[in-house]
Symmetry: C2
Subunit: 392 residues, 2 copies
């Protein structure tokens, strides 16, 4: 029984963090960067292993600095000392936070002015998908106090590292995919006509926890007669009736790693139009899974899937892409979109997510998760049914 | 039965958003600000009602602009059009995202250059607790293209608005507090010696969902013999044994509003030292609840609680404060800390959270949620037991 399966071991060995840090330092050396300043949950966790839900509180900033040599240095609120003390990081500098007058800024200034001597360049993720998790006024103060140091964009370095997953990372994602696949399989055994989107999503969420998930930070449900009009809102108190289609899409986690995929369900019966749309998007998914391999660009992958959808009568796609990278975040890294000419490499985990409008305000979206391998991709999710499952 | 209680109605009436916007516009007028640019989930939701879990994906930026007059204007990825179309916002401008070359920047430039004419001042939250949820390079591009417009900090305006809750907001927080209080009461009926922190927290999370919670974005568990050494990590696979103390702290939500409080449990028996620490922190909580009222500063409230803890032998407090504001986020607004001279006002929702180290690496932290009212505060949580509950 899948529900009895134990998850892979928690955390990572120190060597995983050593590898990540060394890879970063090689890229930093070739870019002439003395240190990288990180402020967000996945970035700090990637290099330190510091794993806490406390980021939910926006009050205190947290900093991790990757120097040109040696281990990362943590500059964090005192409340995190016990937790950071359990990671491989040795140099932990704390202040009593919150302290709006100086929330870590003088500690950072001291550290960075010591580290950024050779090239006088500090890397900070500033590009696509990044954000700076600290008050902008504090960042400006820091930049002013370190005015002899140039702040340069480090997004490309971080993305390059994180996009290629280790086998230990893939194991965690695979487990999240497997338990969620089993959960989707079981859903028709308790869902029924007359229940609301919210009731079904709630039971599904509990079921995933019981199968070993840590949580489902993303779990939406959307429905409508003959199709749904969005894939990011809900669940609502809308009752499922005959002829409705329900999509559930979830980012469920295990040990800080996400799966991200959806399943469609018909209630009682479905329109021929919806059945046809399901088949077309199913076929586009097949093509996507077969096309994704080393050396292929995300743009080519997108084109291969889009061709199937277009031939099937797609009216458009408002999602803006047909899949994306996946890992410590629900979406990360590359996009399967026209114009993304980055090339797939072994170890990348991505979603194959073709979708289309097949009638006004009616969408059909499928999604599976794969790892790029030499040759054919490895499917992490249990493939959706070729025909839409029906709930009575 | 609490578990059968229906939650308050979802969402808010349009008049709630009108009030929020008008209050903002009054403060903007007195500060000579033409418009405010918002980029984060709670800020966008506060003024628009746009409520989605999709913020979990970091890929696409989302913008809401509050002009000097009229309704807010949304500048958002096309994937959000159906959802934003259900809110009170009329003017919704979309682009096909992700588009790293221009992720909403040209749309923003056009809108802001039209709006920021009178004072040539754009407000952006940049102060304590704020962050900018968009790539820094995009923000720099925008600032450069709008160089005749001054970007000023709007944190104080946003904090002033959000810190005073409407009764409709308080109803949602109260419901989250009540269902979680009932959940904590029920916990000893299923938890037992020999279970792990993770097992207990998982069952608690499911139980909260069944009582009507939408989720528990924050739910930590920490334990140790005679006390725990942190309140932000875990849960882990540590098994609870005789003499252990377990703290569970949770930010559980209903319709986008948080409760945030904890409970302590002894397993089998507890040391006299831990029992004594529990009594002292319980008494500090009593003092805090009685002290919190209009006109009192957060610093005074902190001092009143700290006096009890210090007299009880507190060795320190690494949390950095004894409570904080609460609402759309797990923590928001004021801090009960020395030096925070802001004054409590009716309608503020805060946590009373005294804590102390009572021995090396042993903490005791209590927490309750209250609303500041004329006269005495209203308690939203069901008060913790005066003696530590024991689980066998």
């Amino acid at each position: 029984m899948l529900s009895k399966k134990q998850g892979p071991s928690r955390g990572f060995s120190d060597s995983e963090y050593e590898n990540r840090t060394e890879r970063a330092q090689r890229l930093m050396a070739s870019s002439g960067i003395d240190a990288i300043l990180l402020t967000t949950e996945p970035e700090v966790r990637y290099f330190s292993g510091f794993h806490t839900q406390f980021w939910e509180s926006p009050t205190r900033p947290w900093f991790l600095v990757v120097p040109a040599v040696d281990k990362p240095v943590a500059v964090i609120p005192e409340i995190g000392l016990a937790g950071m003390g359990q990671t491989w990081v040795d140099d932990i500098r704390c202040w009593s936070a919150p302290n709006p007058e100086d929330d870590g800024i003088s500690l950072l200034r001291e550290l960075l002015s010591t580290l950024c001597v050779k090239h006088k360049k500090l890397g900070v993720p500033m590009g696509h998908e990044s954000s700076l998790r600290m008050p902008l006024t504090d960042f400006k103060t820091l930049a002013k106090e370190l005015e002899s140091i140039e702040f340069v964009d480090a997004s490309a370095i971080i993305n390059e590292l994180r996009s290629i997953k280790s086998e230990a990372e893939i194991d965690k994602i695979r487990f999240a995919c497997e338990l969620t696949s089993a959960g989707f399989k079981a859903l028709p055994t308790y869902a029924s006509i007359g229940q609301t989107e919210r009731q079904i999503c709630r039971q599904f969420k509990c079921d995933l926890l019981q199968r070993g998930a840590d949580g489902s930070p993303y779990l939406i449900g959307a429905s409508g007669f003959g199709g749904y009009d969005n894939i990011i809102m809900g669940p609502t108190d809308r009752k499922l009736g005959k002829g409705d289609i329900l999509i559930i899409d979830t980012g469920t986690t295990y040990d800080g790693y996400f799966c991200d995929f959806d399943r469609n369900f018909a209630f009682g019966e479905s329109t021929d139009e919806a059945k046809r749309a399901y088949s077309i998007v199913y076929e586009a998914t097949e093509v996507g899974i077969r096309t994704a391999r080393p050396g292929v660009t995300h743009s080519e992958l997108c084109a291969a899937m889009w061709r199937v959808l277009e031939n099937g009568g797609a009216l458009g796609n408002e999602v803006g892409r047909l899949g994306h990278g996946l890992g410590m975040q629900l979406t990360e890294g590359a996009s399967n979109r026209f114009g993304d000419y980055s090339v797939m490499k072994p170890g990348m985990v991505i979603t194959i997510e073709p979708g289309m409008s097949f009638a006004p305000n009616k969408l059909m979206v499928h999604e599976e998760n794969i790892v790029i391998r030499e040759g054919e991709a490895e499917l992490l999710t249990y493939r959706a049914d070729p025909e839409m499952p029906v709930i009575y």
